[in-house]
Symmetry: C2
Subunit: 734 residues, 2 copies
Amino acid sequence: MASSSSLTLSQALLTRAISINGYENSVSIPAFSGLKSTTTAPRIITNRSSYSLRHVIRASVAETIDTTTDSSLVDKSVNTIRFLAIDAVEKAKSGHPGLPMGCAPMSHILYDEIMRYNPKNPYWFNRDRFVLSAGHGCMLQYALLHLAGYDSVREEDLMSFRQWGSKTPGHPENFETPGVEVTTGPLGQGIANAVGLALAEKHLAARFNKPGNEIVDHYTYSILGDGCQMEGLSHEVCSLAGHWGLGKLIAFYDDNHISIDGDTEIAFTENVDKRFEALGWHVIWVKNGNTGYDEIRAAIREAKAVTDKPTLIKVTTTIGYGSPNKANSYSVHGAALGEKEVEATRSNLGWPYAPFQVPEDVKSHWSRHTPEGAAHEADWNAKFTAYEKMYPEEAAELKSIISGELPAGWEKALPTYTPESPGDATRNLSQQCLNALAKVVPGFLGGSADLASSNMTLLKSFGDFQKATPEERNLRFGVREHGMGAICNGIALHSPGFIPYCATFFVFTDYMRAAMRISALSEAGVIYVMTHDSIGLGEDGPTHQPVEHISSFRAMPNIMMFRPADGNETAGAYKIAVTKRNTPSVLALSRQKLPHLPGTSIENVEKGGYTISDNSTGNKPDVILIGTGSELEIAAQAAEVLRKEGKTVRVVSFVCWELFDEQSDAYKESVLPSDVSARVSIEAGSTFGWGKIVGGKGKSIGIDSFGASAPAGKLYKEFGITIEAMVEAAKSLI
Amino acid sequence: MASSSSLTLSQALLTRAISINGYENSVSIPAFSGLKSTTTAPRIITNRSSYSLRHVIRASVAETIDTTTDSSLVDKSVNTIRFLAIDAVEKAKSGHPGLPMGCAPMSHILYDEIMRYNPKNPYWFNRDRFVLSAGHGCMLQYALLHLAGYDSVREEDLMSFRQWGSKTPGHPENFETPGVEVTTGPLGQGIANAVGLALAEKHLAARFNKPGNEIVDHYTYSILGDGCQMEGLSHEVCSLAGHWGLGKLIAFYDDNHISIDGDTEIAFTENVDKRFEALGWHVIWVKNGNTGYDEIRAAIREAKAVTDKPTLIKVTTTIGYGSPNKANSYSVHGAALGEKEVEATRSNLGWPYAPFQVPEDVKSHWSRHTPEGAAHEADWNAKFTAYEKMYPEEAAELKSIISGELPAGWEKALPTYTPESPGDATRNLSQQCLNALAKVVPGFLGGSADLASSNMTLLKSFGDFQKATPEERNLRFGVREHGMGAICNGIALHSPGFIPYCATFFVFTDYMRAAMRISALSEAGVIYVMTHDSIGLGEDGPTHQPVEHISSFRAMPNIMMFRPADGNETAGAYKIAVTKRNTPSVLALSRQKLPHLPGTSIENVEKGGYTISDNSTGNKPDVILIGTGSELEIAAQAAEVLRKEGKTVRVVSFVCWELFDEQSDAYKESVLPSDVSARVSIEAGSTFGWGKIVGGKGKSIGIDSFGASAPAGKLYKEFGITIEAMVEAAKSLI
């Protein structure tokens, strides 16, 4: 990797992030030079000394929180947040005003007094992360980003809330709105992402921090509601957060007793405090979340002081606070207040301002975050320059993780095979790739949902990431597939160079599908290592045998579904999965041993579908046999039988449909000539979708029922996934 | 419903269950007449008075548990269970011996001393239910069923463990093995099913029991392991079980500190006891689960005495107990012990018997369960006869739930519509069906995952099922989609006449897909009411807009994916969903208003795909336009445009692909003539799979990317789901 100054690094990151997100021109690069400093002495960076003083206090991670701001100004600022949300929802005639009105106080304190960020570079590496797990309340976050000076949310963006092409969609989306870290809305995903973000920080801090230079040092904050609490996903990840002792994760539980169907009494009466204590969290209760600013401040102070446990701050609030007729009721959760109630709320809270108007003193109060943020980043850049001088190797690794630039030649580490190499299960071949990649890719880490020894996912050069050994890279997720996927989304979105992988049996993607869809939607390049990919797993039976899963991922947008047939195809799949950082990958891998086939290659996997053998000429074989994964071998053997009978046969590997779709028409025609309608596919899974490949006159051999419990060989025979079946189907078409 | 005596009812049930499961001839009907009794006085039913005495004590639900059985015989029986598991796994060379070896004591006590069941009629209504949530340990359950005298698990079945066509598959499957209540293996599903079973009992007991005649009165027992505890699913359902106060649910937590990846210390260090207390459970710890029989007995006694809370009995055990070299290690979890270690275990536990041999005194000890079980059922039949005389209406309702026979003419309650009926969203039309069905179908009940007012699923004639009002039928699941689906599986499998429905936004099937797959596999006819079925939901954006979901369920075996277009199709979908009790249904329903289309009908929905309008003759239209759900209207309007231009156009509704697949070739040809290749489909979802319907030359209009946040009308336009697009596509093919 080319050497660069820390300033260049920072700018490069910003530029990269902007281009990744297709968000151009509106994020300006701050003038670092004017702010750069290599000392830690207090500096006056605005004309309001109290703020600059606080800046310095925070910059040195002191635990003293300044509360000198006039509390009436805080009130005003909090009400500004409330009314920006009310007004935007009212204009859109849809949205969720209740949460922003209730959570404005805690979030005001977070964004205005606690968090370190640079609004003009939302991707500054060492920023504190904030995740609104209760994503429906997104107007809260948009209001905060707007006040804090993020260019992504200007007044016109607030006014186009929930409209086509706006930066302010109905739920927070990282790929639309710089300043939004992850994509939330489906409940529980956000707190899981926050656990992943906090894990990433803890890992990097342990790996890279040096005495006197804590180059990695930031917090992860999240707000979650009753809905997030009810989702099993949140239980999985909060259990892990407690287990891992993620001390810099601070979650605010918006305890408002209201969910869509009414009072939480109808379905949610557990003791949340006690449950979180059981999970190993530190728990604090703020009884007055509506106006108890000092209580909130004290809670955060206490949370930061507890460094070996994550903290849950239960903040009791009133949903829709300020609305005289709708507060504390489900009616304020997910609908506009209505003109009359907006007026009543304005009157009730004494708010004389026009819709979307930010009072001048509030504006002025928040304006300091732009220079302060630039100063934070400049300080950190200086720190990084010093770090780089003292620890060039570590700095290079960290830079790779921060920037996403992989070390030159990384792909050469991938193993290659010949037909003479000893045959093996693709899950074992996958393990060779994982271990090779972990040696050369600094941000490569991952693990399994308690199936490491079956999925073959242990990194042999590393130990376990645990509370006391967070510098290690084997993640132990326990039997928590959904949490695993969602945590990996958080890791992937922490820094572009993080490449998390996670593993379970392919059939159990059903447990984690919601997280996988968020990977695809939020452009988180997680690698899903899914072994035991068919009835070939044998005796465990139909509960453990995937059938429809390959089809179901082929149907999902922006996710690559790979089913490699042997060593070269497995390595090829990893090569693309590592390269394509904005698209997650699923690798379906065999439990059973497979041979290395002549004709496969790492390079050709990039085409998605390609010919591995052909005895025809003129692009006109008698028949095309198509296979994937463990059945490509069957296609190859069926071809041999047919060729011995004088037929011309092409064998095609369809390892990744999405990549084939991206190829030119000419290439597609060279693999699947439109004149050749005699096509037979074979795959030990649902035939659903294969019609597109084999065409109206082709045949698909597959399994359109559930599997059964028996040895694998017996199952293949009984379900008709055989050379004989393929030969017969081919002959019926020639 | 025809009147029948309770004896006939019982026999009818048995016969039905047998034919449902395709399991014939090996379950014999006990000679009820010889055992029938209308008194509650003690009766001698075996030649061993201590057992018959205990029978009577248990039959009257006394809490005294007989512990007079010679403890050395208990040891022997427990070791029999252990060795049946060891031997079967050894013979299969695959399986999980560790759990059966550790859980043999608690399960012996359950099946031999506590539970009431009739081994010769596994479907006797008032039996206690047992669910092995840690389903990989299925040899435990097979050994118990074998000893207890179930004809489904004979010695030869044990010897064909995990083989093709056996009654003893690799995980417990209700559709293969009478005596197994539900299908487990995917972790957490079993305890969730158990919550559903216990809910069903509590509901029926509250609805039907009368002073002096507790006609519904049974317990639900479950064994769950560390894996189940880690899954978020178990958290969701255990929170609900506590909320609902399911006092007759008793769960044993096999606390063995080992999971597949090693000691639970690596990923699972939460305080389970404290967590369950927080969830509102009664918690008991049995410290010596390996040999502490009296501790286990006392714990069960205590659990039964707590009637307002479910109980978790944490039983600390040693996985693989008895194996001198593998006990207490992950190596005994999921692999055969190996010949040498089997011998060492035989020697260690002093076991001189041959593989699969049940010692005579153990056999004799267990033999009493056949007559005792018959007596339990006969007693209950007598009780039911008395009940029927006093409460004929209630008895008829209960019978319908027990037998699955729906009241004659139930389907007439479904609403019908004409094109003149006011247009409405199919979610609202669905609510009309739900309310109509709940009035005529006694076992119809259900609810939503905190979206009742959006899914439109409230039953207006009923209140909420809550701790104090369990006779009601609106279930409030909270934001727990996965738990909701899995609980409904338990309800559906409690009794054939239970028809549970459950609801959320269609996109959130991603959270509950694992439970839905178990519905399909285990033939649980749950009705999934999935509203907001496309980008038509509008502003909530891509996190809430399903795209690939329709395809992903069309690919799943044994589940019917309906997408009704209007009122008649919605009613038609419900008619089939209610009728087909062994196949779950998914109904994708619109948020937006739709017209009632000419040509749709309740009856035609049964065909899956059918013509709603056609101006062609001779089965040769110029073009066939195909739509589903909210887009059928677009197809109909596009047809009008084309017809005005002189084209002959057929419009086809493809409301359920699975049903169309079942039709005759002649019928299919009458709808989609092979000569007509000009076909255009439209659906606001992934086009994946449509190739099969429109053929190689047809076109599919759909959405193969994620949606966006904007008003619905704008989204339809921007994504090209329009009349114009359909007309243009049609013209390009004519």
